[in-house]
Symmetry: C2
């Protein structure tokens, strides 16, 4: 490595774009024109509809540059968008990236960021087809727009849950929340801790699982868990015009989450309900279809837990505690939650 790193402000925008085009490499499937013209030109699949979503990562709000490597941020930027495509049952296809970069950023940072983005892209067959570079007078900002495709007759929306449906969640919750706690406490000694931190930094989007759920046609509604189970359950219920009751005893989380929470004197459920960044899928499914869907996911190697049921909207959104009490579940805020009065 040279003694002094080259900063992006030292090379022009033209050269930086040429370098990125080289890092990104050859055009992916369905890409007629990629980086280097006024716009990308893409060939949609016949009889599919287009999915489009974006998610921005702002330094100091969503990440700290000293706590995440450029490569991890590249992977994460794509992963959190992939999760949204997964939640519709779609197939990810193309990405467009806006980078707003401080001029003193080392050129190697850009190289490593794209390496991370590319490795995640290869895992999920996504090609980067265009983007935008700008100077930042402050924070580093990464904004990715992701396109996917889906057959319109199998797309799974947030609305569609009906009273009586069961609520299914993939995988386990609270890992990313525990990982963030560890990162903040700078305690990363144990291997267990590393796994939790990885869950936060580079989440695994449930693309294959979302597709499996959609093609099964068994799901009535689906959402990915980006802001926490409680918050996203509220979103799904609001879109569907229903209420829900979940059972604390059925929420899936590993022993490591319990340990990290307890060591910090907080309730594990706080991480599980409000920690966020899980990127698991929450699904509403009829009671008849629920066992079929659980089996389907488990046969594909994914754990699936039935955590509660959908109620009429007038019943609100609540949780059954281990002691049998039932309290309204807020969309965020453990403190208010546990101080609240029992409900019904």
């Amino acid at each position: 490595m040279s003694e002094r790193e080259v900063e992006i402000g030292e090379i022009g925008e033209f050269r930086l774009i040429a370098r990125i085009a080289e890092l990104v490499g050859q055009r992916g499937e369905g890409v007629l024109i990629g980086i280097g013209d006024d716009t990308a030109l893409l060939e949609p699949s016949r009889d599919f509809c287009l999915l489009a979503t974006c998610d921005v990562q702002v330094e100091g709000v969503h990440f700290l540059r000293e706590a995440i490597s450029p490569s991890q941020l590249g992977r994460r930027t794509l992963a959190i968008n992939l999760s949204d495509i997964a939640a519709m049952g779609g197939i990810p296809r193309w990405a467009i990236l806006s980078l707003v970069l401080p001029p003193d950023l080392p050129l190697s940072w850009v190289d490593e960021f794209y390496a991370g983005l590319q490795s995640e892209g290869q895992l999920f067959q996504v090609s980067l087809v265009g983007g935008n570079l700008s100077r930042s007078p402050g924070p580093l900002i990464v904004d990715l727009t992701l396109f996917g495709e889906v057959e319109p007759d199998i797309v799974v929306e947030r609305r569609g849950a009906r009273p009586g449906d069961l609520l299914l969640v993939t995988g386990e919750l609270g890992l990313a929340g525990a990982g963030l706690l560890l990162l903040r406490g700078k305690e990363v000694s144990r291997e267990e801790g590393q796994e939790l931190i990885q869950a936060f930094l580079t989440p695994r989007p449930r693309v294959r699982e979302g597709r499996l759920i959609a093609t099964s046609r068994l799901a009535r509604a689906m959402i990915d868990l980006s802001d926490g189970l409680a918050s996203d359950l509220h979103r799904l219920c609001e879109a569907s015009g229903v209420g829900a009751r979940i059972d604390a005893m059925r929420l899936p989380f590993p022993e490591s989450v319990r340990r990290v929470a307890r060591e910090r004197g907080i309730e594990p459920l706080e991480l599980v309900l409000f920690g966020g960044e899980d990127y698991e899928l929450l699904v509403a499914v009829s009671p008849e279809d629920a066992p079929v869907l659980v089996r389907l996911l488990e046969d594909a190697g994914v754990s699936a837990s039935l955590i509660g049921e959908v109620c009429p909207q007038s019943d609100g959104i609540s949780m059954v505690f281990p002691d049998g009490s039932v309290r309204p579940l807020p969309s965020a805020g453990w403190d208010h939650f546990v101080r609240g009065k029992p409900h019904r």
Copy 2:
């Protein structure tokens, strides 16, 4: 108006998204799912290909909040992306918007921004179908991704210009550059000045003209002028593997640009070549087709000027000065340009 403005940090993200969904109103054509699910769901037109582009506007880099109204910024954000769709000959369709906002921003700012975006969207039949909101620890940032559609057999790329082709430019150049000078000098008294400032703040993208050029099938290559004629001519030539020679006497600009430049002791050509933000179209067209294309544009009410010709790449990119001398034309930087030695 209330005495104290409500700030966006005071209302939650949920409420802000709901408010935006209301401002945006009903779903546009081809929009199966708009704002409010994990992703948008869009119905592409059969036998068309998809165009996708993005452009970011960063406070302190691309705009100053005190110099542009929220409504103007909303219009501008869409307009500069529309110009890229125009340069491919496409039909604009859908937009996705990322807003990174300081928490003390007045709620009325957001309302007015969307009003501007909506009014531009209505002019060009673009619907906003999704987006993302984030807090900014510093500058206000607006990143818009725009989708368009085009028949793959008429799309006009940057590459395709051949030696002997003529170079055509729509409209007039230098207005936005002069407008920016006036804005910086805070001299906005004359009506003429207002027109130049408007050209900078709310450019008129050549969507109709780009479509006309593409459907005529007469253009060999096309690019929109976002960074200045000189810079974008370099881009078109690089993509086509050609050189070019333009004629200073044929560059179209109004008397007002000449006056503003002269008043500040600079050459009008500096604004015309390097000022940027013109959002006119630069087209390479065969000598036989050039008069037909000029007539076509003029019949549609748009002025079109033949400003030079395409050369072999080995001839480089140059300009004939009024005194008959020929000098290499750099992609940016008037100072270096005029101090350079005559070429050939």
